[in-house]
Amino acid sequence: MEVTSGRKHLHKRIHPLPVKVPLPKGILIVDGRLCTGCMNCMYACTLYNDGVAAPELSRIQLNAYSHHIFDVAAQPCLQCVQPECLRHCPQGAIRVDETSGTNARIIDERKCIGCQKCAEVCPFTPKRIRFDSVKKKAIKCDLCGGDPQCVKACPIGALTYYANSEGIISGYGIGG
């Protein structure tokens, strides 16, 4: 599956906060055969969430930027079943969004101290956690509360939002 490309080898380490995290109930899926890397999703992301146009800030990134590279595709946060970001946050600022019904792994801006530990441990490249250098806070995909703007903005139909109230097995930790 295209969305898991770019996975990095991880050294075994002891998780500081082993917690049981509920499965996500919504995820973004990219059809890599359709995605052209046009960046409309990236613009939608920051325009909606930050009120600015800034591809660097977008919670959905591309795996490549050279325009002749073939397998360029959008790389959304996978809302991992074992969210390393959540487990490693020293402030406990990352939690599961149970109010919106998406179970997205979200960052509590008030608690975040901007240490970027979450970005460091994200097992995927490009990192699904971004850093807002103005606010000095980490930011990540919250699925726009269940109405992801990137999906709306995709002109090709390469992005879909898949929701399942029973939970979805996705991202890091699938293998056990």
Binding site: T36, G37, Y48, V52, A53, F70, K152, P155, I156
Partner: protein, 696 residues
């Protein structure tokens, strides 16, 4: 300081002679001159006096973004380059061209525009990164192809760096040299690459990680989502449009380039992978990517026109479907050397096989390359006097030879490199070109229909008859730039679409009489003006001209008759939107209510400013805003003149009257009305303004 919305707030000036790098606050020019073409025109007016020539160090290379650039507005992935254009002959003046990628990056790096002046002592490149600029040595880059240069700079900096560079053609001051931007975009027609080469500047590398503030970002997204429907249907989406059910499929299958091509056949056999791409924030994805699994050809990404360059010769040599390996290799070669595909090289979509028959409608589409091929057919060019292997015309060997002698200015290539007007003169004078050589004048006039002082080998690309709006617009416009060509009313060619709904045409052009391609009258002039103003706004916003609906309808109807996208517009839905999204987007981005009338008025101001530049640069003598007689003699198959001279000249006078111009020159009253009093004063001081008593 108040919040700046839509703009980055600063303009970067780099003086290569002194190495001095300075910043100008954008407020000096913006938002009055909007951005892009308008901003560049103002800087041109202020900084490039008439006596400066294209290759003088005092000439400026201006790269200007617009308020939509990099904001995520659809089509906002582009920016405009402006300079005194070396490809014009004998007088040189203002021209613009647009390209993708580098504009948004420039804004994220903190700049609305980049002004390059002077001439570096040694070969250099410019590195701009997040509010800092640096002129760096580029000895090791000089002589490299555009692809090698890009890859070198990507390695040196990072892969997100956007690179605009020149190839050997630009280094050798070939007037058809481009500035190649990333893998598949370019500041094309006009010789921008040669201007960069004359400044010893090999490349501009930009990296920006900043952000652009948008006043009402959710409104912008809403507009995006509305306008996206005009260009695309998502894969799997079903929509009923004008009573017809359309289902979205994977777009690659409907791509105008790959839809039915040799490469697509090879793709089915697994020897090549094909795909689409495009500028940041654009729904069209007009670029074509191919990757050869056995590495027999370089992989890459090209613009549609690149692939068309060698399509006719290719079909002549190996027959069958268009767009195979030969066309692909041709486009790669052209990009490597940095030559504009249409201006001098192209053998055109239709014309490669055609003889210059007066009654042949299809000869409307002639390009610079046809000049060469028609000269060969007329017995003027031979292997001896050009060094080109004519018996192998259409082969890779021929193409390689042609490109190399041009880019490196060897032998006859040195003549071609000067542009078509000097080349025509040269061929007509030299006895070695045989007894038929005087025919080159006629061939030149068919290839470059616009008569007068600013010779221009690109005209034919836009000019097409019978089409009165296009005839007027093409006669008065600066076609080197990529202003959207008027496609409002459908095209005269038999394969064309019927054009836009009359209601839409009446709303934006003021009349639907222009749907009749044989109707000439003041309505035509009025429609041409309306289109020209809208187009100036498109180029200033900067929205890609292919997303301006006047242009888009043309392209889709013209080149991709089977593209289902052309069915995507529900006219009732479209009529509430402007052709380029300007008024809607500006209101959302700048956070001020701005009406279409105000925006088009800004467009009118920009048209007048550009015209004033042309007048100041010498566009007042002899004949201008007209065509060669050979063009007026063209007839359709029924024997009707496609552009009747008397009717054309009458309509041009209507155009001047409605513009508030006299004999092609803006009058003081008009300039003052548009807030251009300083322009009127300067033209007056140069004795180039129409006399007061003649101003009604």
């Amino acid at each position: 300081m108040a919040e700046i919305y839509g703009y980055a707030g600063k303009i970067l000036r780099v003086d290569l002679t002194s190495g001095e790098i300075t910043e100008i606050p954008s407020e000096k020019y913006l938002p009055k001159y909007m951005g892009g073409r308008g901003l560049a025109a103002k800087i041109y007016w202020d900084e490039i006096p008439p006596e400066v020539e294209a290759f003088d160090p005092e000439n400026r290379l201006i790269i200007a973004t617009g308020p939509l650039t990099g904001t995520g507005a659809l089509g906002g992935g582009r920016c405009e380059a402006t300079t005194k254009c070396p490809a014009m002959y004998p007088a040189q003046s203002f021209t613009t061209a647009n390209a993708g990628y580098i504009g948004p990056e420039l804004k994220y790096a903190g700049y609305d525009a980049l002004i390059i002046q002077g001439k570096a002592e040694s070969h250099v490149y410019l590195w701009i990164c997040d509010g800092k600029a640096e002129v760096r040595r580029a000895e090791e880059l000089w002589g490299l192809t555009t692809r090698q240069t890009r890859e070198n700079l990507w390695q040196k900096h990072d892969e997100k760096t956007k690179v605009a560079c020149i190839g050997p053609a630009g280094e050798n001051l070939v007037v058809s040299a481009i500035i190649s931007v990333e893998a598949n975009s370019a500041f094309g027609k006009g010789g921008f690459g040669a201007v960069m080469g004359s400044k010893n500047l090999k490349a501009i590398a930009v990296r920006g990680t900043g952000r652009i503030k948008v006043a009402d970002s959710k409104k912008l997204l809403e507009i995006n989502n509305i306008r996206m429907r005009f260009y695309n249907i998502k894969a799997g989406e079903t929509r009923v449009i004008n009573g017809k059910t359309t289902v979205g499929t994977a777009k690659i299958r409907n791509s105008p380039m790959f839809g039915s091509s040799k490469l697509a056949d090879e793709a089915k056999q697994g020897r090549v992978r094909i795909g689409l791409g495009g500028c940041p924030g654009c729904p069209l994805n007009c670029r074509n990517k191919a990757e050869f699994t056995d590495n027999s050809l370089p992989s890459g990404s090209v613009e549609c026109a690149d692939m068309l360059v060698w399509v006719v010769p290719e079909m002549m040599t190996d027959g069958g479907k268009p767009l195979g390996r030969l066309a692909w290799e041709a486009s790669m070669l052209i990009d490597d050397l940095g030559i504009d595909n249409l201006q001098v090289l192209s053998t055109g979509l239709m014309s490669g096989l055609k003889k210059l028959d007066k009654n042949d409608k299809y000869t409307n589409m002639l390009y610079g390359g046809d000049w060469l091929y028609q000269g060969y057919l007329a017995g003027i060019f031979t292997e001896e006097n050009t060094g080109l292997p004519w018996e192998k015309f259409g082969s890779q060997e021929f193409l390689r030879k042609l490109l190399n002698i041009m880019a490196y200015r060897e032998g006859f290539g040195d003549i071609l490199a000067q542009g078509l007007v000097p080349a025509t003169k040269y061929v007509m004078e030299q006895e070695e070109f045989g007894p038929n050589r005087k025919q080159m004048e006629y061939i030149y006039q068919r290839v470059c229909p616009k008569a007068g002082k600013f010779g221009n080998p690109q005209e034919r690309h836009s000019y097409s008859a019978p089409d009165p709006i296009m005839s007027i617009w093409c006669a008065v416009g600066d076609q080197f730039g990529q202003e959207p060509e008027p496609g409002w009313c459908g095209h005269s060619e038999p394969w064309s679409d019927p054009g836009l709904d009359p209601k839409v045409i009446i709303k934006w052009l003021g009349t639907d009489k222009v749907k009749d391609h044989y109707y000439w009258g003041p309505e035509v002039a009025k429609a041409a003006i309306a289109h020209e103003d809208i187009a100036a706004v498109t180029d200033s916003l900067v929205v890609c001209s292919y997303l301006d609906y006047g242009m888009y309808s043309k392209v889709v109807g013209h080149y991709a008759p089977n593209w289902p996208d052309k069915l995507l517009v529900d006219w009732e839905e479209f009529i509430n939107n402007s052709p380029n999204g300007g008024p809607e987007y500006l209101s959302a981005i700048l956070g001020v209510d701005i009406t279409p009338e105000e925006v088009w008025k800004q467009g009118e101001m920009i048209v007048n400013l550009v015209r004033a530049i042309w007048i100041r640069d010498g566009y007042t003598e002899d004949k201008y805003d007209t065509y060669w007689d050979a063009v007026f003699e063209e007839e359709d198959k029924e024997g009707n003149k496609v552009t009747p001279k008397d009717k054309f000249e009458k309509t041009i006078l209507d155009y001047y009257r409605l513009r508030g111009w006299k004999a092609g020159v803006p009058m003081r009253a008009k300039l003052e009305e548009l807030g251009l009093k300083y322009v009127a004063d300067e033209l007056d001081a140069l004795d180039k303004l129409p006399a007061i008593e003649n101003q009604i």
